[in-house]
Subunit: 480 residues, 2 copies
Amino acid sequence: MIQECIAELKSLLGVDRIITTASELKRRSHDLSYHEHHAPHAVIVVESEHHVCLVLKTCNKYKVPVIAVAGATSLEGHTIPTITHGAIILDLTSMDKVMDVHAEDLDCVVQPGVGWVDLKEHLEPLGLFFPPDPGAAACVGGMCGTNCSGTFAWRYGTMKDNVLSLRVALPDGTVVTTRRRATKSSAGYDLTRLFVGSEGTLGVITQATLRLRRIPKFTAVVMAQFQTLKHAGDAVAKVVHDGLILNRMELMDAHTIQSINISITDPAKQYRQFPTILFECAGSSQSTITEQFAALKEITGPVEASSPKGCVGFHAASSESESELLWHLRKRAYFAAKDLRKDDKLTSHSMSILTTDVAVPISHIVETLTLSRQDLDHHGLTGSIVAHAGDGNLHVFLVIDATNPKEVADAQAFRDRNARMALQFGGTCSGEHGIGIGKIHLLSEEVGVEAIELMRKIKSVVDPNGIMNPGKVFELKSNL
Amino acid sequence: MIQECIAELKSLLGVDRIITTASELKRRSHDLSYHEHHAPHAVIVVESEHHVCLVLKTCNKYKVPVIAVAGATSLEGHTIPTITHGAIILDLTSMDKVMDVHAEDLDCVVQPGVGWVDLKEHLEPLGLFFPPDPGAAACVGGMCGTNCSGTFAWRYGTMKDNVLSLRVALPDGTVVTTRRRATKSSAGYDLTRLFVGSEGTLGVITQATLRLRRIPKFTAVVMAQFQTLKHAGDAVAKVVHDGLILNRMELMDAHTIQSINISITDPAKQYRQFPTILFECAGSSQSTITEQFAALKEITGPVEASSPKGCVGFHAASSESESELLWHLRKRAYFAAKDLRKDDKLTSHSMSILTTDVAVPISHIVETLTLSRQDLDHHGLTGSIVAHAGDGNLHVFLVIDATNPKEVADAQAFRDRNARMALQFGGTCSGEHGIGIGKIHLLSEEVGVEAIELMRKIKSVVDPNGIMNPGKVFELKSNL
């Protein structure tokens, strides 16, 4: 059936759009994560919604699974065909146009292959930005798929809050427009948010209307350091509790700072290895910034060894370039983690990262931070911890040898313990990366079999042949 | 079948919980709107999720439609059985407990019959509030159903943004928990937002976890008045465009002020009848307020007859009680509209209001305001206009004699013209009231038959017997 399907696609789209060379299939066999590689049957390069519909209709006819891919930066195996199902890859990277910017309405219309970094550059001259900021190569289609977020989500919300409307091609080739452009709507079922976060299992996003924000006139970054993770977590919880409105609040543990320092050759430029919070203040005037600084200072307490609040450093970035450097370091934390095992002589091929993604109610941020670190240390695992702190969303970056089954299993066991701890606190196993292939069992524990069964029913009626990214989020068939 | 169903419910729940007296059925035959009254077969008073499940299972077995009702303040006929389908009413008013307040996490857990006004009083001593503020008697269950919002939505979002998780009883009596309490989640399909805004057509909400906010330390209200609706609309668009962050921004046209003045007997206390905006500034310090005042003053321009910005009044409320009075007047606008036809000698029984609910991208707020007023005047219709201005969401309150078919038809024709204008501007026919029974044709024009068909498919798999509030949002059967 697969060969017939591919042959038909070649006749419909032209042979040039159908790639089946071994090297290219191998290149497409993985995402950014530790998940086992598995090559697709073919890669179909499309340039229009019409192309997408042709591919879906054909694959639906032959019951051949389809995975829509643009940035391929998933951390949960979303773009990898499962061994059970196999799949062709629908390559959306050529659908990379910013179609429209309605500056006065604070929205824009883009194709799924637009990268958020490119969009950022496109919008900056207009004084506008789109808040979600996941991995640098991520594109809007996948960002919708996983309901990603990033460092601005605490202030501006996740993709759910920043996607106004979608055009989505369904498996039978029908195209649905989920909504119009008004920022508010109570018009029928919320199809937009059904597709956002559905991880490519319901349809292919062919166009997205995104909500934009005005770049704040004034911003300023404070780097605060603390004696312990508990002290840092307490500061975070207090900021949230007090309703202090900042632009960002990102936490890094001492191991993250250590990992960042490894590649800084000049010892004078290295950072002190303490749990660290980057606060970004923002507002329409310098006095707002001054006020936020004062409120932060009050919360973190005096910088002295004996302070009960444990603040050992409170440094305001003195220039825009220093602020940028600090954010750059935070953004580098994921890849920097690998340097923690620089001496293990792992190859770049075998060294990988398993990242957790729990989010907990803010009153549990301290326990979640400290217990995560204790668990790492207790099991002798190498990892650093960062947190989108205002959202109670933590990532533990476990550095592993992905070719060593024991290391993978140990890291997965940590991930499961960590998620179950979050569930006990009323939290979730995924704050922003999605479920993919690695956390199917955890989702079931989190929301219960009744909710999974309802998701499965919705899937069955939208995608009756189960061709859309099967084996992700939940198994197609119930084990009940 | 209905009599058998009612008999079985009596045996399951006790006869006292099943009300079939004519007077009570008559009382339950309408909502707050102009929609035609139609009595239910029975009213079932429930006190627990267990009761809800028993009712749903029984009704599902006999295929008897069910409408869950608490506040019954819908403006779109949601709680009225349709003539085609009939229904029993599931009365949730006894499920009115605030189960838990997690003050440190800024969330609370409530039953569906909790009124937002009661919740407000419950939360105030803790310095917290829940932003959505629809009609005073509205309860959380219905607020979820319609995805309501109100005066705070521009700043804090709608119900979609403020409901963290739901427990929902499905037609077969299964209970689904949609999510946990963490503020951020990418864990599976967004069942929460599928139910929020589904207008009771998919299941019955038995518990909601709501996101709370801290009451701002400082607030201050400015009443600005303008020569024309265009001037007022321009000011609104500029505030949004500049990214000025206020607590609220509500617009009332001159007819609204006129309607409010009618019941103010002391001429000295009446307001000048100009298009008016109430701005609410908020922040953690007095200096923030001062800054927001200055920014507003810059936008509205000088108060003088010749100003191109048309501002004819800029008055800061001098006390908390004056601020409260101004908000009270705004909140009274809906009922005050009826005074515009005080001299028509309509009975309180026959006089009713048809309200529109369009929302448009903010660049079209001026046209939408001015064309709505022109249309009213051109057709000799009596009505006032208010707007949740920051969201581009307008309500035209058309005062009609609901017993006069021509007046109803004329008002409905206005509603349709108004909605179609909004659609042309990329807007929606419903910003916050939902579709109910009156706007089914408009929803279809707005999102297209493909989207309606998808909603219908989802409905069919969640509620295969079509017992949940049938005949609302869309017709169960396609006319294709």
